[in-house]
């Protein structure tokens, strides 16, 4: 089944079976954001602890399909220790991989495209296959959109 192997790479299944950074953080001082995929029952809770400009801790809660959970797990590992700016760049690059462009121009914008390509996605590359199964893209991006809410809150307070 080439289709399925493409979607469910080993790394994806690994993160699903052993999700990283599961748990909660005390709120405050950390920020808590919730996301739902109303079509299907995926739920994500993202806790971010921000000190100055840096994401010092991340925890993930909630339940959902292998794509949403593994994406959340990989995301948590990728952003821990990064700055908010770097996390946002990672979000854009990830969404770009999912064929999502935040603005209509981004798709054509050579500079933005180059910036997205420059970001190292690491393990997240394993989710590349999701772009070919459009109905699952929302699963993959749920945690990233939820993270963005949490970061917005953190920045608003700073």
């Amino acid at each position: 089944m080439p289709g399925l192997e493409d979607l469910y790479r080993e790394i994806v299944l690994d993160h699903y079976r052993s999700p990283r950074n599961r748990g909660e953080l005390p709120v405050p001082p950390s920020h808590r954001a919730e996301g739902f995929n109303p079509l299907c029952g995926d739920e994500i809770v993202v806790y971010v602890q921000v000190d100055g400009d840096t994401i010092t801790d991340v925890k993930i809660g909630g339940q959902g399909c292998s794509i949403s959970q593994s994406s959340a797990s990989m995301m948590s590992a990728a952003i821990k220790g990064k700055t908010i700016q770097e996390a946002r760049a990672l979000t854009r690059a990830f969404k770009s991989m999912m064929s999502i462009h935040e603005t209509a121009l981004e798709g054509d914008d050579a500079e933005m495209a180059a910036a997205n390509l420059a970001v190292k996605l690491g393990d997240l590359e394993a989710l590349r296959g999701v772009a070919r199964v459009p109905v699952r893209i929302k699963c993959a991006t749920l945690s990233w959109n939820t993270l963005a809410q949490g970061l917005d809150e953190a920045e608003a307070e700073a």
Partner: protein
């Protein structure tokens, strides 16, 4: 099997197509049913040969269109054993039908503190409109609970219904398949002075329906779940009730007269049909009624009871505790709608693998989040069967589930 399903499958163009070299195993009829050639042709026939607006023209094809549409109305009346065609209102779908009751009957009859009784297994279409009325008017909503076995808990029914103005319940759960005891509940509701509204969306396509025998005051259902097209649904109600209700949507077609000062609503059924109707769709619904009537609803029901029994046997037999099937374990107490959990696989992932095998099931909360919460789950996979499914479809489902177990190393 009661029905000759291989012959029936040939009536449905989509089921004759090849997807990736094999026919589709379509197990999502609870979401929408496939359409027989006769329904598709009836709609094309209208558009190709006598397309005109109804009730508004004197020329030949306008008359023909009007007759076809009103003819469909009579077919629906007969199909559900309603006393009068004045009681058959065409809406967009069951959701709109229930909204019509909530906003037209509801606004005229419900005050702050009045009680409307629902159940925990309702579809959002039979919960949200009442919540909207609650926001607006301060009515009280009570819910008949559902048991672990998927039945309604009727222990406190009399108390729950005491003082209620309306009881609104599903005749068959789109999640659990439970066929609810509508008549029994209706008798108790009526004794308490309450009216009864029935969400028959899953019921009318799968069981013989007699609205009077059901004990209902309002019945809502959609064409697209009963081999008809999307875009049209039905509200049936007692003529006296509908007569007393204020008009719902305002516009052309539902008036007798309009002056600058005001309007007089039309008589039934057109009082509740504003604007140009979904004419082709209504004609399509008539053709769907013809199709189902020719097969006979008792035979459809019998077929599904047999198929439900086979499904329960097969899935339990092959997977034992590896599969959790929600709803009644007795085939005769349910429709052939099966929500299930499979190991610790998320429904999304289950349906992804099944899709690879050409098996179509649904994943999610099925527009019944309160029920999901009561069951303690976020989502289920759901396989739902209809008259064009047979044992080979159930076997294909089981095989695909086994493949999923294999792939995810269950």
């Amino acid at each position: 099997m009661t029905l000759d399903v291989s012959a029936i499958k040939k009536d449905f163009p989509l089921l004759e197509r090849d997807f990736n070299g094999k026919p589709l195993v379509y197990l999502d009829s609870a979401a929408t049913s496939q359409k027989p050639r006769a329904v598709i042709d009836a709609m094309s026939d209208y558009y190709e040969n006598y397309n005109a607006n109804t009730h508004r023209g004197v020329f030949g094809i306008a008359e023909q269109a009007t007759n076809a549409m009103e003819g469909a109305r009579e077919k629906v009346r007969s199909f559900i054993n309603a006393p009068s065609i004045n009681e058959i209102i065409f809406t967009r779908n069951a959701t709109e039908s229930i909204n019509l009751v909530a906003h037209s009957w509801g606004r005229a009859n419900l005050r702050a503190g009045d009680v409307v009784v629902l159940t925990e297994l309702e579809h959002h279409s039979n919960i949200v409109p009442w919540q909207q009325i609650r926001e607006e008017r301060g009515i009280e909503l009570r819910y008949i609970p559902v048991t672990d076995s998927g039945h309604l808990d009727l222990d406190d029914l009399a108390a729950t219904v005491d003082g209620a103005k309306l009881v609104s319940i599903s005749a068959m759960s789109n999640v659990l398949g439970t066929v609810t005891p509508v008549r029994h509940i209706a008798d108790i509701a009526h004794a308490a002075g309450a009216l009864v509204c029935v969400d028959a969306c899953q019921f009318v396509p799968h069981l013989p329906c007699d609205v009077i025998a059901l004990g209902a005051d309002f019945v809502a259902f959609s064409a697209h779940k009963m081999c008809g097209p999307t875009g049209v649904g039905v509200l049936w109600g007692h003529e006296a009730l509908l007569d007393a209700m204020p008009a719902f949507l305002g516009g052309g077609g539902m008036i007798r007269d309009v002056t600058l000062q005001g309007f007089k609503p039309a008589e039934l059924p057109w009082k509740f049909e504003a604007g140009t109707p979904a004419i082709a769709e209504i004609i399509g619904l008539g053709a769907a009624v013809d199709y189902l009537s020719a097969i006979g609803m008792p035979a459809v029901r019998q077929h599904e009871v047999e198929l439900a029994a086979y499904t329960l046997r097969t899935l339990k037999g092959r997977f034992g505790d590896g599969i959790k099937i929600y709803g009644p374990s007795e085939a005769s107490e349910r429709g052939a709608v099966f929500s299930f959990g499979f190991g610790d696989l998320h429904p999304h992932d289950i349906s992804q693998v099944l899709d690879e095998h050409g098996v179509c099931v649904r994943a999610g909360h099925h527009c019944a989040k309160p029920l999901m919460r009561k069951l303690g789950i976020g989502a289920t996979a759901r396989a739902s069967l209809y008259l064009y499914n047979d044992e080979s479809d159930v076997d294909a489902l089981a095989d695909a589930l086994a493949a999923a177990a294999d792939f995810f190393g269950l």
